[in-house]
Amino acid sequence: MSASPGSAPTASPGSRPTATAAAGAAARHPTILLAGNPNAGKTSLFNRLTGARAKVGNYPGVTVERRTGALALPGGRRAAIVDLPGTYSLTARSAEERVAVDALLGRGGSTPDAVIVVADATALRRGLYLATQVIDAGRPVVLALNMIDEADAAGLRVDVERLARDLGCEVVTTAATRRRGIDELAAAVDRALVGGAGAPAPELGARLEGAIARIEDAVRAAGLADDERAVRTLALWAALSVGDDELEVPDALRVAVAEAHDAARAEAWDLDAELVAWRYRRVDAALDDALTGTHDDRKSTSARVDAVLIHPVWGLAVFALVMLIVFQALFAWSEPLVGTIEAAVAATQDAVRGLLPEGAVRDLIVDGIVAGVGNVVVFVPQIALLFAFITVLEDSGYLARVAFVIDRVMGGVGLHGRAFVPMLSGFACAIPAVMATRTLESRRDRLLTMLVVPLASCSARLPVYVLVTAAVFDPDVRVLGVLSIGAVVLLAMYGLSVVASLGAAAVLRRTVLRGPRPTLVLELPPYRMPGVRDVLLATWQRVRRFLIDAGTVILALSIVIWGLLTYPKDGAAEERWEARRAEIAATIPDAEEQAVAIAATEQAQAGEALRRSAGGRLGRVIEPVIEPLGFDWRIGIGIIGAFAAREVFVSTLGIVFDVGDADEESEPLRDALKGAEREDGAPLMTPLVGVSLMVFFVLACQCMSTIAVVRRESGSWKWAGLMVGYMTALAYLASLAVYQVGRLLGLGVT
């Protein structure tokens, strides 16, 4: 059972909790925020505190993940813990980044009853910056010095009592992955809930006080806060955050901040630098008092590992190896699992088919719903594997090195270094790749990457390439005496895919996703062993989110496409085919011959049914539109079917050409394609048409599952719609250009 944070009534933002009021609040379900820097083990601590029964949702209005869980306090009470996004400071430039300060001050909800700040004990000289900001805000704070085991090993000693005295809050040491300090932390939180807020923040000094006073007036006048500490916190926050931002802030406040900065500049000092320096002076003073021992990190294990992993030669070699393993895992290792799932789905279909009476309902359940659920579950192995890998790469610290090494290439097109792993994964399958964009910190970077990832030539496109090259290219023709022309064309398609991804990123960055110049300010955390439980938990949470959010959309779309390709049916035609089969059974004595003849009728029947279906007619309808690309209505039906999943193109073509159940290796299907003719007798599948078709598949967004996942990760249909729009336009124009120019030049028309 977990208490939902929104339901905890707390003291209004204007009042300081007195002892009795605090006791009253503590009697109900208190709300505790969990704040801290990225890479400080906050998630691991959250998992230990909540016992892994977290609920994942979003902060209202933004696509920022919000994890909540329940903490059992000593004494029997239960508190709700809300995990804030990892952040280095409360300063914010966008609505997404504003989440932390809003939660802390109780804006848009209730003020928290206590806050746990998690700091990496080996990086306190930076990490305590955020801690002092949180302490100054006025809520009861407990500071958890996490990874204390690493600090000990490095020779750093923290005098916890001195630090607590200097900062004005309780300090506890923890090592979350080793489950150390958790109980002490819970006890400290319990005490903090009753104890109330800590000492008020120290003075800013004359110059800063004067500058901030103006901003505080604006905060009060705008009614943003009335509690003095909240007013000061908000004023300090505004001084650093407001100005060339995307925040919703009252104009009066904006003006006050600008004036304060101008006034400082006129007196030849910088408000931003002074404020930050003031805070860091406090951090340094507290640590000079409480922290002893230095560690020359040059001799540390991390430094030695880095000497290899970021080495120009070895580093890139290891990098290539790691990426290869990730890729191989997605491509090959997930296959047995996928095969098992497909077999299970087929078995379920057979079982259900046996249980239910014939009819539309049975077809809907078996071919629509069960198959649809299968379409969703089949992605789980790849998602699980990719996320397990990414979590290990991230928690170990290696992902930061990947971003560091590859940044120069990615930065050139406006992508972040951390976008590399998602983009690479896209070459196996876009679904886990789109979900992997969560590792990017800025929403703009996330959107940019996820809109471009589907251009990576995923493994589902391969069957299409294989079938088409086999149908149009002579396998014996060799280029440069070594490579078959089919292989060359295949490589060209992958090359096109890479160029298109980078190009689309560059264009999107200058148009729809225009924004401030992307920068790299990246912490390279020490190398650490990821906790197995944390990795498994993170993977499971990701899979669960996929099944619930994207899964429902994929299922719905599956059923729609199935319906399009199956209905309307023609009862009379079906009876005629049954009669034909009865005739065959009666007239052909030889069992083998009979079986072949019956199979032929079934294939012809399926073909006819498909052509008669709504999807089939749609193929005819769009024919004039796709003719300039060199396609006809049969390929059109294949493209419609491929919307379910690209590899379905092959099986759909099999049915359209009366070949029946075919895959890309099927000889009958290849022969059927080779022999296919247009209405005027000209061959359908010329090499030019083949290339045009492959180019179309490289660039088109034909995967409803991708659309569902992009919708989920971006938070709205708008972005998914944009993706479908631009990719379809790109595919159409490219295919058109290839076919028409090719025809003009007389290339590959025979």
Binding site: Y88, T122, R126, L240, G243, V409, L520, L524, P525
Partner: protein
Amino acid sequence: MPLDAAPSTVTCSLAELAVGDAATVRRVGGERRIVVRLLEMGLVPGTVVEVRRRAPLGDPIELRVRGYALSIRRAEAAGILVERP
């Protein structure tokens, strides 16, 4: 007798430091939101910063500041004024 007034320190941008050099931050310049970020990550005037290495492709660079490793691009480093002996 007037003392020699020649400065004993060198002021330059962080981007001009060689790998292994250490210097003290004097001023952080550039686009405001990046400046605030760099300041808050610890590159406050008066802080000692050391250039640890460059990425294999030349950019970005890894710095050592306040006891942790921070990586920024040369473009941003060019805006940071530092002083070294």
